[in-house]
Structure formats: C-alpha cells, structure tokens
Amino acid sequence: MPKLPAPPLPQALQAPTPRPGEGEGNGKATPRHHAAQAGTSVVDWVDERTSLSGGARWLMFRKVPKGTNWFYTLGSATMFAFLSQAVTGVFLAMYYRPDPSGGAYESIRYVTNDVFLGQFVRGMHKWGSSVMVILVFLHMGRTFFFGAYKYPRELNWVIGVVLLILTMLMSFSGYLLPFDQRAYWATIVGVNINGTGPLIGPYLSDFLRGGPEFGATTLSRFYAIHMLLVPGLIAALIGAHLYLVAKLGTTAPPWTRAEQSPELREAEA
C-alpha cells in the first residue's frame, strides 16, 4: 500500500535552519538553538515511545469529500457542548450537596448568590444543557437529510440514537438537582410517566425513586446517575462514534455527483 506523505509541520514546529557558524553548522548547539527546538524534541520524545502521531494523523488529516460545508460541524459542536457540560458540572459538584431536607436547595442558592462566578458557571451548565439537546437534534437532522445513516454507517446511527437517549436521561436526572418546587414536581411527573409503561413500568419507577415513594435516597440516586453513570457511558460512546466517523469517512452532500470519466460519458451518449 502506498504511504501517504506526512503533512507539512506548521512553521512554529519546524526546526529552524541553522545560520552559518551556529547550531549544527559548526557541530555545536547553542542554548538558543535548544530552546527553539524544545517543542519538537518533546513531541518527538513522546512519539518515539507511543507512536501516537500516526493515530493523530489518521484522525485529524482525513480526506473529506468535495462540498463539505458548515452542516458537518454540528457533531463537533455537540461534542463541545458535552465537554462544556462536563467541565462546568465537575466544578458545580464541588459545591453541591444531594441532601433532600434543605441542603440541596441551600447549596444551589449558595452557588448562585455567593460563590465568585457561581451564577455564571451554573448558568453555563443550565443553558448549556438546552444547547446540547438542540445541537443533538440538529446533528441528527443533518445526518438524516444528507442520507449519512446509510450503509456502511448504520451502526454509527444506532450509537447516535443511544447517545440521544442518554442525553435525554442527563436532562431528566439533572432537572431534579436544584430541588426547588419545579424540580420536585417535574420529577414526580417524569417518574410517573415512566411508571405508565405496562408490566415493567411499576418496577422502573420504583428503581428510579429507590422505593415506592419519593424517599431519602431518591435525590442522591439521581445525582449519581447524573454525574457518574450516564456521563461515563456518553464519553465511551462518543469515542466509539468518533472512531467510526474517522474509519468510514464523511459522506458527500446528496447534491454532489460523482465525476464521470470523459470516455464513459461519450459511451453513454
């Protein structure tokens, strides 16, 4: 198999050409030369021991079809929305207390009113969740209308649907955590909607609540689902989703046509 030439390194990473009487020119490297080379040396040191550059090049320097446009960025946008949720969520977790007898509401009130930038970070998490849901649906619509779910990308569509469900589960479990009146009653209604499923519904709602009534562990159960169980699954599935995107490549927009060879066109005419 022919080997693709390595893409050119950006100017900043290239080794500077030694001036006459400097660096390798006279066989002696000056400290300035070493400093200029430091970035490349570190990257080389890691790459020699991990061979990561091959994988990185495989992931980043892919060939994309003609006609690729802004709609193709919706998946990345969704991933960045998830990363934003993950980072802000980690910092919110430093203040949050899943205590149903008043502590949860108080800790949220404290973050919002008293913590430096608390209202901003909580706002990013709160509004970011809506942004992520909207981006997920736009990305899904792009995939559907461009026909990008067809062979051989069916499995990536299936993984995407699981990611959509997990995103919904994140929204549902996160809604309870502020533990105000709206959070409480919305969760009561949401859990009971789950309970209306025949046969398994009653067990499902008992599992979500951790018992027959909204109890002492319901809030911590939702908190654990929201910040440990589902984000772990989402991160793992995003990895699988991206691997398949890199392996299978992106689809051309449906309005582009394959280029026909002149001979074939003449033969058809």
Binding site: I188, L199, D206
Partner: protein
C-alpha cells in the same frame, strides 16, 4: 485425511490431527487456557457486577413497614366537608417527604359503596391519579381539581373529567385510644372503589389494567 470426513469423528485431539494435540487428550491445551481464562474473567467481573446490580435494584423488593400517623381529634372532622391534613410519607427528609390528605367522617348517605362499610373516616390522598401532582379540594365546586393537566374528581374521589385513569388513592383510617384519627397505609381503588394494593399514578386498575400494572413485590397486606 480420509478419517476427517468420515461420519464418526474421534473425540481425541490426536486422532483429529489438531495442532498442539497430545496423546489421550480431548481438548487442546490452548483451547483449555482460552476457556479457562475467559471463565476466570467472567467470575471476576460477575463478583462485583452482580452485588452492585442487586444493590441498585434492591429497593424495588424492599417492603416498608406500615406507618400510622395521628392527624387530629375526632371532633375536628365532619361528615359533610373535607379537612386537609399534612402527613409524613417519608420521615427525615423534610418537606419533600410530606403530602396532603383530605379527611372526613364516614357518611352513610354518600359512602354507599360496600367496600367502605366499617371505615370510620374517609381519607383521600391528594396525589393525582394521572401523574402525581397535588390535587386540591375546591369547596364551591365540590370537586378535587389538579393544577397540572386538569384532572377533576368528585366528592368520593372518582374521576369526572380530565386525563386520570382511576379514582384518587385513599388511606386506611382508625381511631386510637386517646380519641384521635390516625391515617395508615395508602391503597388504590378502581372505578368501582374496589380496593387494591397501592399503585403509582397513571396505572389504571379497571379491566386489563390490574394485570398490566402488577402490585409492588414488597407490598404487605394490612
């Protein structure tokens, strides 16, 4: 290699000319190690996955003891109108564990249902049978009305409008030695006011509904 294609195949690896065969062995050592290694991994994974799963689903099967809670002296309640009382469904979690019940004295003229014979007080749960929002008793309309999706119930808690699938739940009642009304465990009723063990909102109990929504494994008979 004609013996490979005969209908009777030997069980010995050596006779079947498998790579890595030894005299008198029916499984190659490589295969034995592969299966053994996978089995050991399976046992190791199951030893933490099964207890963790059991821990997570355990509360479904747990039976909670019945609570009886005094809500006031007997002369607080009349035969003709409901008195709202606040009861604790889950102790130690503050307001989140509390709920409202509407209580009145048994009235032979209204409570003609055979299942209510011998019930000293009628206690109706405020938990809407649609999706669990809190209904309130509206005196002028003589109706229970739900603020969320417009469920309406009559004086006995039977549905007269909106999306609810069954009447409002009730609580068992009794009068204790010091003359106070006590509310006990919850029970659900179908449209004929026949009693069932408590079900979640949104689960019908008429016809096929009582089989499609089984009762809780941990539910105890009173």
């Amino acid at each position: 290699m004609s013996d490979k294609h005969t209908s009777h195949r030997s069980k010995y690896t050596l006779d079947r000319q498998m790579p890595g065969a030894f005299e008198g062995e029916t499984v190659t050592r490589r295969r034995f190690m592969v299966v053994g290694g996978q089995a050991a991994g399976g046992v190791a994974a199951a030893s933490f996955l099964l207890p963790a799963l059991g821990f997570a689903v355990g509360p479904i099967f747990k039976s909670t003891p019945h609570r009886w809670e005094s809500v006031g002296p007997v002369d607080m309640f009349s035969e003709t109108n409901y008195v709202p009382v606040v009861i604790t469904l889950t102790p130690n979690i503050g307001e989140a564990g509390k709920s409202t019940a509407y209580v009145r004295k048994f009235n032979a003229a209204i409570d003609t249902d055979p299942y209510d014979k011998g019930t000293p007080y009628i206690a109706i749960s405020s938990r809407c049978a649609h999706l669990g929002c809190p209904v309130r008793w509206v005196d002028a309309a003589e109706r229970f009305i739900c603020p969320c999706h417009g469920g309406v119930y009559d004086l006995l808690g039977r549905r007269v409008g909106g999306p609810p699938v069954r009447p409002l739940d009730r609580f068992y009642t009794r009068v204790n030695a010091s003359g106070e009304v006590e509310l006990g465990p919850r029970f659900s009723v179908n449209s004929e006011l026949r009693r069932f063990s408590p079900r979640d909102p949104g689960e019908p109990l008429d016809g096929i509904g009582q089989y499609a929504y089984p009762s809780r494994p941990g539910a105890q008979k009173l």
